[in-house]
Amino acid sequence: MPAPSAEERSLSLRVNGRTHVLSGVDGTETLAQVLKNRLGLTGLKVACDQGACGACTVIMDGLAVLSCLTLAVEAQGAEILTIEGLSPDDPVVRAFAGQCEPGYGTAMQCGYCTPGFVMTAKAFLLANPKPTMEEIKENLSGNLCRCGCYPAIAQAVLRASGQKAGEE
């Protein structure tokens, strides 16, 4: 192993309500790497590793952040919420899982982008509990779904907000 660099330090992270103290974390390690590789929180996906797709989105102090572009050291002192921290009956998770009404398809196919979309939608609905369809499209357009389930995802977000889905 290479010699420990000057930037290596012990790091304290608050994730899903628990405090983790990690040693030997390199100053260049991203939040995504630490959450996934060290803490085993595998829900988030790293698909582009350059902030272009949103698959690694987690919530930091109530805001959606790209964990591939956030250094782990930047996250010290923040409350981090990953998809593992959502309750089993979270309305966003349930809406994505159950989406199937005629005309839109399902809210995921391969499912690789789904945790990122769920976390982006979760943070968005925290800030805007009753969004319009235009606002949903605007705010979720930083996430890529190559399977193209966008119309169903938009419906799921509308449904998760307690609004009637199935109509535009």
């Binding site: 290479p2 260049t28 391969c110 690789y112 769920v118």
Partner: protein, 790 residues
């Protein structure tokens, strides 16, 4: 509310609007993919592999010095093409398989084995250059590559396929001795004129109305979020490979064949896969082999995973098609001549199939059967670009772009509606004219898009200032199931009925997202209707495991979504017979007098003498009942149904920007197996269809041949904000072989959109742009040339 599809035959689960069976796991982030397994916390001692990549479009390593790289702390192995074990690999083609599972000697394209697993020679900027490193971290492995002292011989390169044809062009893959950059004909796809019916020259000479057009389809990328990779641990006992390939058993055969191991010493495990889009039709991805060598050398588990940049690794083959159509004044097309030039990029892969197999063997029979004089000819040529592999809708998308341009032009010359021209001239060789499937689709599509109000070409109604609207459509045959499935071989399936009445369903296929697992589960519940089985009572075996499971069905194409379903009835019949046998002594009646209904076994003549299946099984030795199927799927060749795409666009004549405002995607599915899944495919396929129409293209530095946009910032994939209103329309008109008779639709939902958009742009503003993507630059240039820009 949007309009719900009405099934031809009402069933309980098959064909219904339902959530995906893996929806809850995927939505909660619990579904596991390769990256979630291949972690050092799960595999202590895990090493990371990296491969040297060519920085030049065409080059060769003269000499390499690895000393500095090997000396870097944390580097555990460096293997180069000069290593004897690396040099011993058989040459390959990067195109191992189709739907079938085959060993090396039956691998596709035996005369095109132009790729070395480890070699000093590179044919495109990004090619694997025959040096691999395993290190404690990815960062150290990358650093080690930078410390390699490589003496590169930079060779002249050629990017344009026309220029590559010239005798003086730089020769690519010279050791193949092809004599030029043209890839010579082989047995499967036939000669350079691979289809010739009637007398095309004479028929064209005599035709009353003629058109001649050319189209160019660009290099595009699959764009799967889950980049390709593997984790291999090769111990004394066996080699175990975890991967996100879409084929488990084929990968096992591949590793065993290339590494000279017996099959029982190779185990392949594949979890959920984050998108395929056809890309894995390249069974001998080199990284499996060099990762295996690194694991053997170090004795440790080794992970290799493409970076996003590296995952631009195969492409939809760029093809230029030229078409000549000849018709009489009534609109009967008597002659069609198609001339293709396919750009293979740096290796053969599947470009020959994209050009020749799809057109000569399928399109000629299934779409162009009524045309009496028909010819296909053309060439496939090497260039120093990313190789053309297999991508969703292989070959069909490129051909459709040309065919329906020619049809649109011909219709205009004849003064005919292009829908009428299509119905008059196209269909498959088994069917009547007009083809009922095609007629139903085009009539429904025309109604939904408002085709009757369509304006003449170039006179689209003005919508806000400089924006004009236009309508266009295209159609294509669906996926060629009947042909594709014949070489697939036997399908394996096992149903275990637990003593509590629940089911373990071993219907092995890698779930890439297409929903074949949901289809199998719904069909299982349907087949076990006599037990009142519900989808939630069925556990589908998620991981493909070649050691503990059955042979998986190669997830090549959307037919996989129903081939297990077609055999489910047979497994159910076996289990029903076993239930009756177990009930005989309990109900004291011969099984011939018994029946199973709503989860109970009863004596037919005395229905009050009965026992629930659960009680029957629970009282015994608790052994589950097993139904096993191991046979060929239905083989009857029945032709295929069609698909059509109608679009509305708005073209801004001051900027050239094209906005697609509506898409109506229609598919004759034969039988809809999973309505929500079908509509997800119809809607979602537009991410590629729309992307290829107006955004997506791999761009090269024309001077150096280096690709410039191998990332998702510069290679634009549509987002939610780019998506128009999309109407998915599943229909059931045609019917195929088997209990259900469906047809795969996952490929063709991407095929028509680029042409439909280009025709709609012509309809709006009267200019043709036939080399998608239809960027503002191209459209504005065309408008200026026509004098129509504002």
């Amino acid at each position: 509310m949007k309009q719900a599809f009405t099934p031809r035959e009402k069933r309980r689960y098959v064909g219904a609007y339902r959530p995906k069976i893996d929806g809850p796991a995927k939505a909660a982030g619990r579904a596991e993919y390769l990256d979630d397994l291949a972690l050092a916390i799960r595999f202590p001692g895990l090493l990371q592999a990296k491969v040297l990549r060519s920085p030049y479009a065409h080059c060769r390593i003269r000499r390499i010095d690895t000393k500095k790289a090997e000396a870097l702390p944390g580097v555990r192995a460096v293997i180069t093409f000069e290593d004897p074990e690396a040099a011993a690999f058989k040459p390959t083609t990067c195109a191992w398989t189709g739907v079938d599972t085959v060993p090396y000697d039956r691998m596709y394209w035996p005369t095109y084995r132009d790729k070395r697993v480890f070699g000093p020679y590179c044919t495109w900027a990004g090619d694997e250059a025959g040096v691999v490193v395993a290190a404690e971290t990815e960062a150290i492995a990358e650093e080690a590559l930078k410390l390699l002292e490589v003496d590169w011989e930079v060779l002249d390169h050629v990017l344009d396929p026309q220029e590559a044809l010239a005798p003086e062009a730089p020769r690519i893959n010279p050791e193949m001795n092809f004599g030029s950059n043209v890839i010579p004909p082989e047995d499967l796809c036939g000669p350079e004129r691979w289809f010739d019916r009637g007398d095309v020259d004479q028929a064209l000479a005599e035709a009353e109305v003629k058109v001649e057009v050319t189209s160019h389809y660009p290099n595009t990328d699959h764009g799967c979020l889950d980049s390709m990779g593997c984790l291999i641990h090769w111990t004394e006992d066996k080699l175990t490979c975890w991967s996100n390939s879409y084929q488990g058993d084929q990968l096992r055969v591949h590793l065993a064949t290339m590494l000279d191991l017996p099959l029982h010493r190779v185990r392949v495990i594949i979890p959920y896969l984050g998108g395929s889009m056809g890309r894995w039709n390249v069974g001998d991805q080199l990284f499996f082999l060099f990762t295996a060598l690194l694991s053997r050398r170090t004795g440790r588990p080794v992970r290799f995973k493409h970076t996003r940049r590296e995952d631009f690794h195969d492409t939809r083959s760029a093809i230029q098609w030229r078409a000549r159509l000849g018709a009489d004044r009534e609109g009967t097309i008597g002659a069609a001549h198609f001339i293709g030039l396919a750009d293979a990029g740096g290796y053969t892969e599947h470009t020959v199939a994209a050009l020749k197999f799809m057109t000569g063997f399928e399109i000629s029979e299934c779409m162009l059967a009524p045309i009496k004089n028909l010819r296909f000819e053309g060439k496939t040529v090497y260039t120093n670009k990313i190789p053309g592999g297999c991508m969703r809708g292989i070959g069909n998308n490129q051909f459709n772009l040309c065919l329906m341009l020619a049809v649109d032009e011909l219709a205009e010359k004849l003064g005919m509606d292009p829908i009428d021209l299509v119905l008059k001239n196209f269909g498959h060789e088994w069917g009547q004219r007009p083809d009922p499937s095609l007629k139903a689709l085009l009539e429904e599509g025309a109604k939904r898009i408002g085709w009757q109000d369509r304006h003449p070409a170039g006179a689209g109604p003005v919508h806000e200032g400089t924006r004009r609207r236009g309508l266009g459509f295209s159609f294509h045959m669906s996926w060629h199931t009947a042909w594709q499935e014949i070489p697939r071989g036997r399908v394996q399936l096992r149903v275990r009925l637990n003593p509590d009445g629940t089911v373990i369903l071993d219907a092995p296929m890698v779930e890439t997202g297409v929903g074949s697992n949901s289809c199998a589960v719904f069909a299982c519940a349907e087949a076990f209707d006599f037990l009142d089985l519900r989808p939630e009572d069925i556990a589908w075996v998620e991981q493909v495991d070649t050691e503990t499971g059955l042979k998986d069905m190669v997830q090549t194409d959307s037919a996989v979504s129903y081939l297990h379903a077609e055999l489910m009835g047979e497994a159910a019949a076996q289990i029903k017979a076993q239930i009756l046998e177990r009930a005989e002594p309990v109900l004291e009646a011969p099984s011939a007098d018994l029946e199973v209904k709503e989860g109970r076994v009863l004596v037919r003549a005395e229905p009050e003498r009965s026992i629930s299946v659960r009680d029957l099984l629970w009282r015994g030795d608790m052994t589950p009942l097993i139904g096993t199927v191991n046979r060929l799927p239905p083989q009857e060749v029945t032709g295929v149904p069609f698909a059509a795409t109608f679009v509305e666009v708005e073209v801004d004549s001051s900027t050239g920007r094209v906005e697609v405002t509506r898409i109506v995607q229609l598919n004759d599915c034969g039988t809809v197996m999973f309505a929500s899944g079908v509509e997800a495919q119809q809607t979602g396929g537009q991410c590629i269809g729309l992307g290829e129409a107006i955004y997506e293209e791999i761009v090269y530095d024309q001077r150096t041949g280096v690709p410039l946009n191998f990332n998702w910032i510069d290679y634009k994939i549509p987002t939610m904000a780019d998506f128009p209103e999309i109407e998915p329309v599943p229909l059931e008109v045609w019917r195929g072989a088997g209990d259900y008779g469906p047809c795969g639709i996952g490929e063709v939902v991407t095929t028509n959109t680029p042409r439909a958009v280009a025709n709609a742009v012509y309809n709006a503003v009267g200019v043709r742009v036939d080399d998608p993507p239809l960027t503002p630059q191209k459209v504005l240039k065309a408008l200026r040339e026509k004098g129509g820009a504002q």
